[in-house]
Structures are given as structure tokens and as C-alpha cells.
């Protein structure tokens, strides 16, 4: 892989974490903020798994095996966000 690719990956991963931190500095409603944070961390996790861990280069069967627990985690986050939003309505 060319050095530029590593720098791009570094920039993308740092940008996600920076954006999450930056989002907490904005004055928006907590439910909206939580949704934004979940979306950002989900995108970062997907990037990590697919690119850094090279899951995108694996077979479909292995990708499915790996995706199931990740989807369970995402489902957990979705439940929390939904519950939080409902409580603040």
C-alpha cells in the first residue's frame, strides 16, 4: 500500500473521533446529539472492520459471520437512542 493510503486512513479515523468530540461542543438537543454520535461511531466502526481489518477482502461467508455481532451492537445502540428520545418527548 502506498504511504498516501496510510495517511488517508489515519485522517479518516482521526476525523471521525474529532467529529464526535466536536459534536458534543454543539448546543443541540441531547436526543439529536446521541443520534449523531451513534451514527458517527457506527461509520467509524464499519471503516475499521472493513478497511483496517481487511474484512472487505474476505469471503461473503466470513463477512456475514463477522457482521452478526456487530449488528447486535448496532441494535443495542438503536434501542438506547430510541428509548432516550422517547423519554425526552
Amino acid at each position: 500500500m502506498e504511504p498516501a493510503r496510510y495517511l488517508v486512513m489515519l485522517a479518516v479515523l482521526l476525523a471521525f473521533s474529532g467529529a464526535e468530540y466536536g459534536a458534543t461542543l454543539l448546543s443541540v438537543a441531547p436526543p439529536t446529539m446521541r443520534a449523531v454520535l451513534v451514527l458517527l461511531v457506527a461509520a467509524q466502526t464499519a471503516y475499521f472492520v472493513l478497511v483496517s481489518m481487511h474484512l472487505k477482502d474476505e469471503t461473503r461467508a466470513l463477512r456475514r459471520v463477522a457482521a452478526l455481532p456487530l449488528l447486535l451492537g448496532a441494535l443495542y445502540a438503536l434501542v438506547l437512542v430510541t428509548e432516550s428520545t422517547w423519554r425526552h418527548l
Binding site: Y6, L10, Y21, L62, V65, P69, L70, R87
Partner: protein, 209 residues
């Protein structure tokens, strides 16, 4: 079976599997281990989420807030180490094992730096840590979930550093294969991936409550 995948440096050649292709049994085992480990972290974060959603004050009087800029810096250290791990992995795959050893050491250095940072956060290093400031294990759900989750992750970082150093030693002795470097890479990326979840849910969520 004539169509085989031969990992670098003389390791056993495995036939291409109909389901998992060229992935070695060790690689599959690592994926299964990481996925089960991920569910452990999800369980911890779920417990934290349930406690936090139960209502009432999350942070009690006298308990300090978490230092977000410092933790963002530690997050950056882990992300950089994840990229250096990728460089090491690619070097090993290309047969440049001396280069891989150097980048593995840089990666381990990142892990040590993270652990020093976590030590400073908990116990203080030059300035008082969270414990001295009043965040005591067992005194509140906030404190207990914080120490349980960050402590469990810290153990993973420590294990990852040891794993990296073992791989460095084996690499230097000419006994490590590109597959071995790839395995330690998977573990290290996982440690970084989980930290990003911890950073978001444990550190940033309280800040918006």
C-alpha cells in the same frame, strides 16, 4: 485439491475453503475470538446503558467530570498505532520482516503510551487522578461502570502489547510468518475499535446528558 493458498515463509499451505476462501484456521479462530470478545464489551456497555437510562443524577456531587480533551488525545494515540500496525502487516506480507519488526515496535510503543495515559487518568501523574478527585470504585454506578469498562479495555491493551512484543521476538528470530503478523494486527485493530465505542458511549454521552 490443487488450488492452494500458501502463506508466506513456509507455513502449512491450506486448500481454499468453499466458504472462507484463503483464510487460515488461525485467522478464523481469531475472528471468532474477537467476535465473542466484542459481545463481552457489548454486555458491559449494555449494563452501563441500562444503569444510565434508569434516571436520577448520573454524576453525584464531589465526583469529577472526565477529561475529554485528554481522552481524545489518547484516542488519537491508539488510532495512530492502528495505522502503524497496518504498515507492519503490509511489510510482513511483502516479505520485509525487518521493517515489520520496526513498525510492530512503534505500535507497541503506542500501546504503552496509551496505558501510561490511562494510569495518569486514574491515579494521576504530576496532577491528581480521578481516584484522588473522588471517583471511587463502588461509590456510584458512574464510577463502577467507568472503571469496569476502561479497566477491562486496559487489560486488552496490555495483552495486545505483550502479544506484539512476542511477535517482535518471534519475527526477529525468523520464526514469525506474515500470517502471524496479520493475526496480531487483527487483535490490535479490535482493541482500537472497541476503544472508539468506549470513548463515544462512556466519555461523550455523559457530556450531552
Amino acid at each position: 485439491v490443487s488450488d492452494t493458498h500458501a502463506p508466506a515463509h513456509g507455513q502449512a499451505a491450506w486448500p481454499l475453503d468453499a466458504q472462507f476462501g484463503a483464510a487460515s484456521p488461525a485467522k478464523l479462530a481469531m475472528w471468532f475470538f474477537l467476535l465473542s470478545d466484542l459481545l463481552t464489551f457489548v454486555g458491559l456497555l449494555l449494563g452501563y446503558g441500562i444503569l444510565r437510562a434508569a434516571g436520577g443524577p448520573w454524576r453525584h456531587a464531589g465526583e469529577p467530570a472526565l477529561n475529554l480533551p485528554f481522552t481524545l488525545l489518547l484516542t488519537g494515540v491508539l488510532i495512530v498505532s492502528s495505522v502503524t500496525m497496518l504498515v507492519a502487516r503490509d511489510a510482513a506480507v511483502s516479505g520485509k520482516f525487518a521493517s515489520a519488526t520496526r513498525w510492530l515496535l512503534v505500535t507497541a510503543g503506542g500501546g504503552v503510551l496509551f496505558l501510561v495515559g490511562q494510569y495518569a487518568e486514574w491515579f494521576g501523574l504530576g496532577s491528581p487522578g480521578l481516584i484522588a478527585e473522588g471517583l471511587r470504585l463502588g461509590h456510584s454506578a458512574y464510577a463502577s461502570s467507568f472503571y469496569a469498562i476502561t479497566g477491562f479495555h486496559g487489560l486488552h491493551v496490555a495483552a495486545g502489547v505483550i502479544y506484539l512484543l512476542i511477535t517482535v521476538a518471534r519475527n526477529s528470530a525468523g520464526r514469525a510468518t506474515a500470517g502471524d503478523v496479520e493475526l496480531v494486527g487483527l487483535f490490535w485493530h479490535f482493541v482500537d475499535l472497541v476503544w472508539n465505542l468506549v470513548f463515544t458511549f462512556l466519555y461523550l454521552f455523559p457530556g450531552v446528558a
